[in-house]
Amino acid sequence: MAHELVEAMVGMREKDALRIVDEMLERGDDPQTVLDLGQEAMQVVGDKFEEGSFFLPELMLSGEMLKKMAEIIKPRMAAQAEQREKLGTVVLGTVRGDIHDIGKDIVGFVLDINGFEVIDLGINVPEEAFVEAVREHKPQVLALSGFLSLAFDSMKSTIEQVRGAGLGEGLSVIIGGGQMDETVRQFTVADAYGEDAMAAVAYAKKTVGVN
């Protein structure tokens, strides 16, 4: 039997979830325990998304709930409380010539709530900016987003330049967006393509060796 907070979050009862958080903190429960329950709920939501019973509305709303919880809880956490260690780093951006941000933002959001450090370079990101960011942040995953067919070329040249700069070692490149498929993956020479946001999470987790 799951905790009532997990039940509320998985049941998409936002107001109930936030009320329960308030009550738990009010009666002196450990803030970290509350956050852990939030993460537990996210795991259930992720599983339901994988199996096809949850979709973007549930993914986004549960993420919103977790974010709100963190905002309430963080000020109450003891100063010495250690920041939960991140699973890894992902550099993310929509490639040059493309300003679509919906898919990219959703991917960044779910990576973040699933424990990754996300360096979001924004939209219409030139190749050099990706090279610089990979050099600086040494991510395990470079995630390129694009919606338009012109993004195919930008993805290809971005990957070429990142690898050409000698930064390909230990770096996995994933592409995502409306028209991505195996043909585009081969064309861009990316390591993988993702069909939805959770595919990016699964891929990033696999890359850093967690499940």
């Binding site: 509305p57 986004m60 991505m180």
Partner: protein, 447 residues
Amino acid sequence: MAENGKSWADKTAEEKRDHRYASWLASPGTEFVSPEAKATYEAAVTRISDAYSLRQPDRVPVSMNMGWYPVNWAGYTSYEAMYDYSKAADAYLRFNRHFRADVMANPIFMTVPGKAYELLEYRLYDWPGHGTPEDAGFQYKDQEWMSIDEYDHLIEDPTDFFYSVYAPRIAGGYEGFRMLSTPFDLVEMPFGTLNMGPWGIPDVQASLEKLKAAADEVGAWAGGIFPAVGALQAEGFCQIWGGASKAPYDFIGDSLRGTRGMLMDLYRAPEKVLAACERLAPLMVRWTLRHATPDTIPGIFIPLHKGADGFMSVEQFQKFYWPSLRTVLMGLIEEGFTPFLYAEGRYASRLETIMDLPKGKTVWLFDQTDMERAKETIGQVACIQGNLPLSLAHAGTVDEVTAYVKNLIDVAGPGGGYVMDLGGVTDSAKQENIEAMINVTKEYGVY
């Protein structure tokens, strides 16, 4: 308009439809450049009409789902096409004459006048040289333009909400409209300071100046583009769309609430979403009818966005998305139109739901939906179109395209009710791949 003794209003949906299709075929006002051009036009319209009506045409019609490719192919940037209308016209003239699909690649739906958008300070989109590179297209900016608290205003008085709240928010050129009274105030002796006063306020005057300048620019654009469309039609290329409309859910999600807001609203304000969709549905029909005559071309373009696979569950689709969209479709069909729905992305889990439509009255262009399944489901009641992948057009070989196109004809073609097309909106491609799609269809697609 009286015909056979019956006024337009008294005609049945079927009679209106017959009139529109007959008028489309006859194309009054077009002076064809040659008897061959006329024959080509009539053959294309007949072929497409047959496919739309689920009759078997002489061969599978072929169309080109085009974004900026015609402009790029002609050697221009998208910026040039949006700011120099003669270049846009030149691009589309050459493009159509070269590729010769059955359906005209139509500049009216892509090359909007950049200068007018600038004058009005439009904020919903970025466009070449104005937020996107000069060789990229215009791109929609996903954002919350209406707060969740404003649903009530939208539902109670959509026109007032649009004029006094929404327009000034999304376009700086409409800033002064915040201060105007509404046409509803024109009762009895209305011309006093309350109603007329605001028209003299500097902000309102400034908006009027901008609207006037934008209108002139749109006129210049039309002067550059429309003659090219007319010339192409005279050469035998046919247009398929007489207007556009939207799914109410997308209208709210795309333009008002933004993707994120809309997704949350399904849980935070489900009743408001439903009420707003219901309120807007008849207005989506009227939006099309306002610009239509009995001779308007039957196809009505409806791009579908936020109801695709992944955006919501089947249950949510059936509750929030489909009912009001169906109302719009039925309203258009009632007026003799043929809604042309572009199901971008994947629509696999929606195919059974959307079958609840009268037979042969809609067209569905699919992007990444399996066409064999589409044929077995929605294809039984509607013409289906698509779906050569954009990735193949861009990165594939002629052999791969040929094999894909032949397979499409094999699985979706039998019995008619199918139009060959690209699945995604094409900004870039290999010329030989587009040629292959068209030529293979013309040869292999013969019934």
